[in-house]
Each structure stands twice: as C-alpha cells, then as structure tokens.
Subunit: 330 residues, 2 copies
C-alpha cells in the first residue's frame, strides 16, 4: 500500500490507524479460554493486505477532507474497520473449509491443522465477535447494515454452490455471484465509513458503488491468479476453483466463445483438472484477455464513481487502490 | 408443551404467540434467491419443541404478570424469540456438519442432502439473519447481549472440540462445556426477555440462572438419550457422541469411578463404538443414575431460582418446563 501513498505523512498516519484497528481486532477476540486465544492468534496471521480496513479509513478521510478532526468519529471508523476485517477473516476460514484448502498466506489453514469442525466453529466465533464489536458503536442502523451485508454475502456463497460444476453458467449469474460474495462487503466498507463520517447521501452512495466495483474487479483478478498465478508468489493453494467445480470468469467467457469440439476439449481439461491445458485453450479464444478487460472496466467505473468527491489526496488514493487491484500478482 | 399448561386459555395464547414467532422467523429468512428460500424451508422443518421461544415468551409473562398489556413490549419479545430460535437452528445445522449426522427430526440433514459446504453457508446465513433481525428492535444493549451469548456458545463448542477423545475429562470441565454450549443460550432467552419486559435486575438475574440450569439439565438428558434412547423415538442419529469422541456425563462419571481393568474395558468399548457394551459397563458403576441425579439437581436448582418471582400461572409453567426437561424421551 505504501507505494500508492502520495506523501510519507499520509503513509505514517494510515499505518498508525491500521495499527489501532489491529489492536481493536485482537482485543475483541480475547477469550477467557486459552484454546480460543490460540486459534485467534492463528487467524491474526491471515491478516495480509488489510484492504478492507484501508478502504474504511480512506473512505472516512475522503468524506471528512474539509471537516475538522473528530476523535469520536475516528474511533467509530476504527471499530468498523476491525469489524469488516473480522467478517472477512470468518469468510476466509469457512471458505478454506469449503475449498479443503491447505495453505493460506504461506501458512497452514486452520482446517488442515485442527480439522474442519474447529474451523467451522472458529468462523462462527469470528462472525459473532464481529457483530458484538459492531454493537459497541451503539448505532442500531450500523448493526442492521452489517446484517444486510453478511446475509447477502452468504447468499452469494450459496448461489455459487448451487452452480458448482454448471458449465452453462452465464456471465450474468457469474457477476451476480461475485457482486454478493465480494462486492457487497467492500461496498459496505466504503458506504458505512462514509455514513459514520457524516457524508451526504450522494457521497455515501458514490462510495458504495466504488467499493462494489472495486470488490468485483478484485475477485476477477483472483480468478485470473487462480488460473495463471504462481503458487509461491500468491501464497495459497491454486487451481482450487477448478477442482471444486467453480467456474471463473475466463472459463465462463471461453465456454461461451468456444466451438463445439473446443468446448468438449475444455470440459475434458476441467474434469482432469489440467490447469496448463486449460490455460492454453482459454488463451486460444482470447478469454484471458477478455476477463482482464472486464476487470479493467470495473476499475474505470470505480474511479468514475468517486469523481463527484472533492479532489483530495484521499480521493486520489482511492483511485490508486482501484488501479492496483488489477495490477497485483498476489 | 400443551399438557403442561394450567389452562386451555393459556395454551391458546401461547400457541398464537408461537405462530407469530414462526411467521417472523420465516419472513426474516425470505431471500430474493430461490436457492436460499429452498434451504430456509428445509430448516423450518427442524423446528420442533420450540423450547427457546417458549422460554422467551413465558419469561416475559412471568415478569409482566401484574403489569398492563403492552403491544410494543410483546412485539419486541416475539422478535427476540425468533432471533434465539434462528441462532439455535444455526447451531443445529453446523453441529450436524461437525457430527456428520444424517438425520434430524426424522428427516435428512442439510449436510447429508446438499453437502457440508452448503450446510456451513446456511448456518452462516442463519447467524447473520439472527443478528439482522435482532438489530430491528433498535436497542444496542440487546445486540451486544446477543453477541456475548453467541461468542460464549462458540467458545463452548471449541472447548468441547479440544477435549475430543480426552478420556481424562473432568466433571468440572464437562460442566463448563455444557454451560457455554447449552446453558448460556437458554439463560439469555429468559434474561433478555425479562429485561425487555421491564423486569428488575434481581428478576432478570434469577431468570438468567433458571435458564442456565434448565439448559444444562436439558443437555444431560440429551447425553442420556444419546446413550440409551431409541433412535425411532428420538428422531435423530444416536450414538454420535461416542463416535465423535465426545464424552458425555454418564461416561465421565463412570471413568472416574471404574477400577483400572473396568476403565480399560470401557476405553475398548468406546473405541469399538459398542453402545450396548458401554451401557452395561456404565450401569455397573451406577453412573447412569448418577448422571440422571445431576440433571435432577439442576432442575431443582432452576425451580429454586424462580421462587423470588410472584406466584403466577406463568411461574408455575416455568417450573413444569424444568420438570419436563428430564422426563422427556425425545
């Protein structure tokens, strides 16, 4: 993130805020049971880019650019940042159970170390803790908005599961899945921070859409990395989407474009989990490039959404984050 | 439940309230996705005794016995009843994943029909929906109390998982596990309803303890049924505790009482999942009776807790529910 920041001062301030968020996160997970604390420490190692807390804090800054400092608002925004990170961690822990993944951020997953049962319960503990922390802000609308966000997120996962192995998956359904699974949470990060920061409805709505577009672009980049990334660079088990019958955007586009024999060859490559063969086929119809283009369109759209905000270093940072989403290799 | 009610009028009123709770429950789970609605309908079939909503409603009555009717209070209490039932359903769905159970209330479990992944996500959807519904009451303390309750519940499950197969499990740890796993939620049912009903702190606290004691007695009865119940009567897969290395109270007591050779024979019976052999051994040291006695003590304690409440049909109903907990065969 540091290389995106327009000044060292901004980088220092953001780092300090993220440290406060991390401390709030850790404090909330402290239990009177050693067994729970040891699991919580394992999850804290999953914290990587802290993209969602960063979106929360910078959205708050973008709204409050010309307003006086307010430590109460800052404190609420820090809490929200810890809440969304906790929800995100819960989805990672449960996703790893669903995916039977062995590796996450270069370390072993909870399910591989401690079994699926513990991973399911740890995820539940994280969701509960997130809602508990959220209620500490004392604003019923915030709890309600978090509830809407997480139920949508779950419905996206359920929609994806019901389409597992569905080689006729349309682009429209694919986008509906990733909007719910990924877009809704990052949209909420930006919109709820903006509302806590006292933003006008139009600003809250613009940031909401920015976050949704950004989240979906992020997911498409994840799809691309699962297909063509290097495991040692990405730091997690790759090719899982393929194994678990999840059709990613490059493959959805490719299946729509391929000839009848090409389609059959592709289905054979999917069935055999032949990642190399599949990449060659998908490249052949230009579908890798097409998926990448969709991600770029979402990035452009995200940047347009925030044009209505006052021009400020924070707004420019939101724009840089959008660009970085599709440039990352991990 | 009907046979416990002191008058037909009370039975009719309770049935009407529980219908309202069921309607609120169903409304909250309605989604714009057909796939989610079909899963929600499956879960609605799990609703059996509705013990927790019943505890919520009767606790409210016991507090408001001499107070005028208040439809707003009633409506909040109905919402709480739907919330706790939703949390309970979520734990059933995730427990069935943990236990690899095939049957629940005489029907197939979600995990056996639709796979573990869908069951994990459905449980998450139910937890999220419960918190969302809870926030509709608009009282931050209620959301916060629900957060405390569910994190404790999860920590109890995690504690139980870390002691799986631990044949040296102490009675103290066993009771700590079931207090968190089962007592905390039924305690919250009674305490939060009492608080919503405007009860004094002493009344809230008495009902809290009543609910905790009752929940623990209920769990011990479940333990006994898992060991000696009839599957066709109980309506769910039995002997699971044994298979999954969960030590139930009769066995914990028995292992503490058995001679060295008796202990070895018991461990062999556990390893072989020999339910019949195990029952004979546990009976031999009087440990079935001893576990039953612990449950009866908790029932007596629960009834003592509510002695401070005004004598009323509702209070007597709470006492009858406590008695019924250890008399049930399903």
């Amino acid at each position: 993130m540091k290389e995106l920041l327009s000044s060292d001062a901004m980088a220092t301030t953001l780092a300090a805020r993220l440290d406060r968020v991390a401390a709030r996160f850790e404090r909330q997970l402290q239990s009177d049971l050693a067994q729970v604390n040891s699991l919580a420490r394992h999850v804290e190692r999953y914290r990587g880019k802290m993209l969602r807390p960063t979106l929360v804090i910078i959205s708050g800054w973008a709204v409050r650019d010309s307003m006086p400092e307010d430590t109460e608002v800052d404190s609420r925004i820090d809490t929200l940042a810890a809440v969304v990170e906790m929800i995100h961690m819960a989805t990672l822990v449960h996703d790893d159970v669903l995916d039977e993944a062995q590796m996450r951020r270069g370390g072993a997953t909870v399910n591989s170390l401690r079994g699926n049962e513990t991973a399911v319960m740890l995820g539940d503990f994280l969701i509960s803790s997130a809602f508990h922390l959220c209620s500490s802000v004392g604003l019923p609308w915030l709890n309600s908005a978090l509830g809407v966000t997480t139920t949508q997120l779950c419905s996206g996962e359920i929609l994806q599961l019901t389409h597992r192995g569905d080689t006729a998956l349309s682009e429209a359904t694919y986008f509906e899945i990733i909007r719910r699974k990924t877009g809704v949470l990052s949209g909420a990060c930006c919109a709820l921070a903006a509302r806590l920061a006292g933003g006008a409805d139009s600003v809250v709505s613009a940031l909401h859409r920015y976050g949704e577009d950004l989240g979906m672009a992020f997911q498409i980049q994840d799809d691309l990395l699962d297909l063509i990334g290097e495991e040692s660079v990405v730091g997690k088990t790759l090719g899982i989407d393929l194994q678990k019958g999840k059709l990613t955007l490059p493959i959805v586009i490719h299946l729509g474009r391929a000839s009848a024999p090409g389609r059959e060859e592709t289905l054979r490559a999917i069935a055999a989990c032949d990642r190399t063969g599949l990449v060659a086929l998908v490249r052949g119809t230009g579908s890798l490039g097409a998926a990448r283009e969709r991600a770029m369109e979402l990035v452009s759209s995200a940047k347009e959404r925030v044009e209505c905000l006052t021009d400020s270093p924070s707004r420019r940072l939101l724009e840089s984050i959008a660009d970085a989403t599709v440039e990352r290799v991990y």
